[in-house]
Symmetry: C2
Subunit: 364 residues, 2 copies
């Protein structure tokens, strides 16, 4: 029997099943239209049930960052996983070796020293691990610059125990763009740079079967570029206030909200809810997104957080009373998932099911 | 058999047992000297084993925020818990009622509407719940201003199912002080304000057996004020970079660090470790504390975080190589605890035991 959302104890993380399904279908359809494989980054939800909805809609497989996350999804039956992260170390190599027995696996690489630690483990077992070379398309986090891609790809391809499957990028720049047009341009630029890199590598006889791009804001524009073969958006599944502020989606597209209770109204212009940084995270993500979460149906925002307190500055004309319940749209959905053991899947005011965030906290 | 820290997979959270024991003993001794009861805020560790060390050193009981946290510690045998939070709602009232059977319990209150939801549950069961009135000593989060304390205390004392045990405050102001002297003054001011409030309430015949203050930076100065009966510091047990920057402690007093591996060195002035905001949290806490974590033994700092990446800006003269291990002192220890299921307790380079962070993620 379903439980009403009214009977849910707060704070609690809710995911609207209708919005979730619509977000999943839309992105899958966009990838189909572009003839590009969709490989959602499952870090946003960390929930096998949501991953299965993505696969059912046509996704080729999932993307994750760490071997311990892949272990959770492998145990849940997923059979095609790419770790879009420069995984490094002989201990990680052993974990990947065990994973490679059970599924089609690939990992990211951007250094010889790092890749060698994995290749050695696979070589000793008489096997080879698929790797994708990470290209830095402008966010200056990890990856080699496009002009160094050929040199690094050649050297990686020579390492024992490894097989070069392709190249990948993540346009973190989209998150810093100030207008929807600039976000679109960041995606186009990512797609074009990657298609060029792939052409150069292939021209020199290197195997590049995969040209993988994507983040939620840049996904649609990057996957439309000829030569791109795969796209890896994550946040689109839930969406969040940062995506709304980027123009990636509207508030009505946000599937994940946090249900809270007002626990204190100590002043006329201040109310405090029972969701703090332990529930919403302290992620700001974009300076343009003021505060720490939008309140659904209100103008007032959560402006300050401590661990268990969300302090709302009440705008003129809005008031709240102790015991009142609010839904908060968080700045960044992925980090909210990582704080909670359970997510309530709701439809029409009823809790249909409770999902365990099975890959929560898997950092190794 | 003990495991060497060298064999630990990264990222991992380490707690040095010798430093931990020293921090616990020092604060217990300071409270004894002042004749004040110590009630550590266990949110910093969320680990029953650490709570037992605090009780063994002389703490009267523990402080927490939410009923679900108290349930974890009650199940672990703790018998005196104060929830320093304006707990609100009939569902919470029922949880507290069950808890009250098993231990000496009190909760915070700052509104009649909120306190009534708890009192009604206790009254219906023919019992009374101890409450402490929260006083806002300047941080403008929750609590009533000192000048409204008498009026609110009178009305709370009249509610059915409740018993007024005293008053409490938390000088969040200490965290915004710019000098150690200003931190000390914030503590003195908190202690004096609270002693005055208690005197006014007692003068009007209200029962105030507890005058509870404290945060780690202000603990020593607040507990030294005459009339204060109890102190509730939390972070002192582990300490962190924010406390070092406040002058509360030195780097050598920090028991908790995060062990990480360098996974990428994409440029001469940049290295990336496998600990991002999923490991270190994105808490900044104090604007004076630049970046997202200090690297033990290095000048370079973690300057940018994404979920799985910590981006280090390498200062002139420092270099790192892929595969190298670093220990990072996080900005805020409490939120790091809340991200991890396990903490490794180490001594002299050996992992002596693994603690489950039993109350992690308990937000309700």
């Amino acid at each position: 029997m379903f439980r009403s959302v009214h009977d849910v104890e707060t704070p609690a993380v809710l995911v609207d099943l209708d919005i979730l399904q619509r977000n999943i279908s839309r992105m899958a359809e966009a990838a189909r239209r572009c003839g590009v494989a969709l490989r959602p980054h499952a870090k946003t939800h960390k929930v096998p049930e949501v991953g299965r909805m993505q696969i059912a809609a046509g996704a080729r497989g999932l993307c994750l960052a760490k071997p311990s996350e892949a272990e959770v999804f492998a145990a849940a039956g997923f059979d095609d996983i790419f770790l879009a992260y420069p995984v490094v170390g002989p201990d990680k190599g052993r974990r990947l070796l065990a994973l490679g027995d059970r599924l089609r696996l690939a990992v990211g690489a951007d250094s010889l020293e790092g890749a060698r630690t994995l290749g050695d483990a696979f070589h000793a077992a008489g096997r080879r691990l698929d790797i994708l070379l990470k290209i830095d398309v402008g966010s200056h986090r990890v990856g080699v610059p496009p002009e160094d891609a050929l040199k690094m790809a050649r050297r990686l391809a020579e390492l024992r125990g490894l097989r070069l499957r392709g190249v990948f990028a993540h346009s973190g720049l989209g998150y810093h763009a100030m207008t929807p047009e600039a976000v679109m341009q960041a995606g186009q630029s990512e797609g074009r740079l990657m298609a060029e890199v792939a052409q150069v590598l292939r021209g020199e006889g290197l195997p590049v079967e995969e040209v993988s791009v994507g983040s939620t804001p840049t996904a649609l524009s990057a996957m439309a570029v000829g030569g791109v073969t795969e796209c890896r958006p994550g946040t689109y599944v839930y969406q969040d206030a940062s995506q709304v502020s980027l123009g990636t989606c509207s508030i009505e597209d946000c599937a994940l909200t946090v249900l809270t209770t007002v626990v204190s109204v100590p002043a006329r212009d201040r109310a405090v809810v029972d969701a703090g940084s332990k529930t919403l995270s302290s992620d700001q993500l974009r300076p343009q997104v003021g505060g720490h979460g939008w309140i659904v149906g209100r103008q007032s925002r959560v402006q300050r957080l401590s661990e268990e307190h969300g302090v709302i500055d009440l705008v003129e004309g809005e008031s709240l009373r102790v015991g009142e319940r609010l839904r908060i749209l968080p700045n960044h959905a992925c980090v909210v998932s990582n704080l909670h053991d359970e997510i309530l899947a709701v439809r029409g005011g009823q809790v249909e099911t409770v999902w365990r965030v099975a890959a929560r906290g898997r950092v190794q």
